[in-house]
Amino acid sequence: MIEVNGLKKVFQLSKKQMKVNKTSEKYKVAVDGIDFKVYDNEIFGLLGPNGAGKTTTLRCLSTLIAPSSGTIKVNGYDCVKDPLEVRSQLAFLTSELKLDTHFTPDYTTRFFGKLHNMDEALIERRMNHLFDYFGVTPFRFTKIADLSTGMKQKLSIAVSLIHDPNLIIFDEPTNGLDIITAKAVTDYLLELKSKGKTIIISTHMMHVAEKLCDRIGIIMDGRIKAIGSLGEILLSTGQGSLEDSFFMLYESNRGEENV
């Protein structure tokens, strides 16, 4: 189980960033004290517009960055105090994490498997399974630089899942993918769930959240505006669809801002 309590992340802006953002504020609150829980074997979605704080939240969960305040516990391990333990239990997938294009998928996957303390036999087994599933096998010994964008994305997923983690965090899983690759990815997430894994995704696409998520947290301006199953969110907002609920919350958030 993942427990997020009072998570707050404040970034100090450089002069250049202040100029770009046209602000005189030296600090930007990306996530403003959010609380949520993700239960075992569910797909939890963070739904929000660009700049809402989804990616920052996921980066904190994956220990890439540290929270300014608040706590995150992954299966009882604290993200700040026990980052190695946390990282051994999760996979974090984002388009910002890249693989060295000089190597082959075979070498890269073995390398990351070894970083996860896996033995050769287990790496081989997992690699064969993942490569077969994502269709990487024919390109196993092709330089990553020579792979198509879709194949690179599939390889990134295979590499991050090599250690068979119990928790999968996926930042915008279908972003930038062609329709076939996107389908393969969402199908695989459902398959992972069927195998008992816990999955957290961030998305700004309503249909992705509706189709995949058991529970959804709608995040805007670093705050969670609604959380629950699709039915619970529709009930609490009094709307007929997730899209309507989202825009109702969005308008009310804008109203709060203007006040």
Partner: protein, 401 residues
Amino acid sequence: MFRSLLLIAKKELRRVFTDRRLIITSFILPMVSIAIIYSLMGIMIGRAEDDIMTHVTRLSGENVPASIQEMIKADPTIDLSIESLSRNDVEKLLLNGDIDYHIIFDADFDSKILNFQSGEVPLVTGLYSPKHDYSMQANYKVSSLLENYRHITLANRLGDESFIQVYNMESNEIEIPDEDKGIDRGFASMIPLLVSIFIFAGAMGIGIDSIAGEKERGTMASMLITPIDRSLIIGGKILSLSVVALISMSSSFMGVLISIPFSARIFSSTGSFEFSQLAMSSLDLGLFFISMIGLVGMYVTMIAVLSMIANSVKEAGAYITPAYMLVMISGFMNMFGSSDGSKIFEFIPIYNNLISMNKILSGDGSVTLALITLLTSVAVTLIMLLIARGLMEKEKVVFPS
């Protein structure tokens, strides 16, 4: 922990040594270009020197006494033409390189020499162009010829050559024991500079790409989400970079060795170099290695820290260039500095490594100095490692976006 460190280091080395372009640009090209450049320098400078030495000096003169004309004729490298020219014409001829030297003797030179007791000393005027090598050489030749004439004249005046010989001088080299001989002094002062620059240059390109480049491309972040201590990631990179720096330095140095048959003339203090001089005792080799490996540790960690601070390869290049300048300045200071400098210099990191290497190659290697360099190098390397480790924990540094 050690396994993870080696895993990262092996991956970094694989990245370098399976990339044909990197191998060519980092190891082969420097070796070949150094060999070619130094050889060409040696050949061209040697040719220029030979040309000057064998050039027949075109000397024009006015009122040249017969006795001096005879002396000039006896020298096959001087061709004398007697002509009376205006000062302007002489200057034009010298500037154009048509003549190398013009000499004008007093019209009554011989009578003034004969009647020296009258106190009237004849004047000899020489004109040459400092712009032309042949002319400079002509000035040297004419001066020594006239000095010779002065000796003969003095001997004639005193009646015997022995009268102008005030004392006998015997200047003898003392016998230096084999273990203290060291190598040629020119090479002994140049090798530390080359070793230092080759280590830094070898580590610089690959170090920038391995750290700032990985940050920029997002491949570093992929490793940050594995259950491996971040200090091991930078540690593995530094370890592999040290190996790369040593190999790069060796290949560049090989280029120097290849060029020696041609470049010894410019680098050696005696004009030649025997490879057998490089056969050092095992103690000297050990001391040299200690001083050299200290430089590797300091340079590699310095490059790692500066590359980590930078957010892009371009930025890293800008940060590392001043450090490279410092490395070069310290190398040149050591090369052209006195061998008996202040003891304080022996405690300055980097500079003391260079002094130690210089002394070892000159046959004056000191265990104490090598140990001091080891201690200062380890201290600097550890400080840099701690800084690098600290930076790895800073999210603005490792994950700046």
